[in-house]
Amino acid sequence: MFSFFACPGNLQVLMTGQPTFRMLRCGDSVQVGGQFWIEVTTAAVLPVVMGFQFTQYDAPNLFSETLIHGPFQQFDHTHLFENSGGGTLIRDTISCRLKWPYGGEIGTRLMVAKSLHAMFAYRATELQQLAQSAFEFRKPGDI
């Protein structure tokens, strides 16, 4: 599961069913200092470009990225991977705050929090389906 996330381009695979999400640029693998750029369309007409830089990489336990370009004053995201009952439990921890002209703390709570929760719920569902299909198509003897 960690190796799936260690390829930043797979974020687009997870978000295929979300036309509001677009991967603009990314490297082949997660490495500290590496960047990826995404575009998220809000309110149907406003695409928001955000650039992130990887700040932490500890395979197969965690990696983190921080926002380097976009409407947030701060946006830190840590992905934690834990073994759990034969599977992998993924925890996403996000600390974010919009820049004050765009609403600051209040704007973050009112406008961003709900969208983020919805997006990660969608990601979780897609990830489960991907993992399930990968499990079903695995041939006997495959590791």
Binding site: L24, R25, L46, P47, V48, V49, H69, G70, P71, P101
Partner: protein
């Protein structure tokens, strides 16, 4: 110049939406080194529109004062043409302009054309009068008050663009073909 003033107001509102939505929230070009040249054109537009927001709704311009107005409009047209020419490379790292920004620019260009036509239709004959500038309100007081606020805001926006040009000066370009 009543009609020209109303069209200038519409132009100001559309321009503010363009700056707030697309230049700031969507692409954050004041923090994008590749957009430095585009920001220079935007910084020049600030004082240009501040002058227009004050002159057009408040004064009757005759002779060379009307000529000055025409020069400002030609200057703004040149800024816009250069801006359009620069935008493709300026935003190439973001895969180009958002569709909505293209639409907005087209509408802005049409309103600008209509405003210039109104300026010549309503005031063109004044170019042949003796040179003078007279306080002659063309629109209601509350709208002229809004124009003053808009003049201040567009000056601040232009100054922020100029500051960004200086700040981004030493930073490397993001897209390889951005120069």
């Amino acid at each position: 110049m009543e009609v020209a003033s109303y069209l200038l107001f519409v132009l100001g509102v559309l321009g503010a939406a363009d700056i707030a939505m697309y230049h700031s929230v969507s692409h954050g070009i004041r923090n994008h080194p590749d957009s430095r040249a585009e920001l220079i054109t935007h910084s020049l537009r600030g004082p240009t529109y501040a002058v227009l927001f004050v002159l057009l709704p408040n004064f009757s311009l005759k002779g060379w004062w009307f000529g000055l107005l025409v020069i400002i409009l030609i200057f703004d047209l040149l800024i816009s043409l250069i801006d359009f020419a620069l935008e493709r490379k300026s935003r190439s790292f973001f895969n180009g302009l958002p569709s909505g920004e293209y639409v907005l620019h087209t509408v802005i260009a049409m309103v600008f054309g209509a405003m210039v036509s109104s300026v010549f239709y309503e005031g063109g004959r004044y170019f042949y009068h003796a040179t003078s500038i007279t306080y002659f309100p063309a629109v209601p007081e509350f709208l002229r008050a809004i124009f003053v606020v808009m003049a201040v805001l567009v000056l601040i926006s232009g100054t922020q663009d100029a500051v960004a040009v200086l700040r981004l000066g030493g930073q490397p370009m993001r897209a390889p073909n951005a120069k």
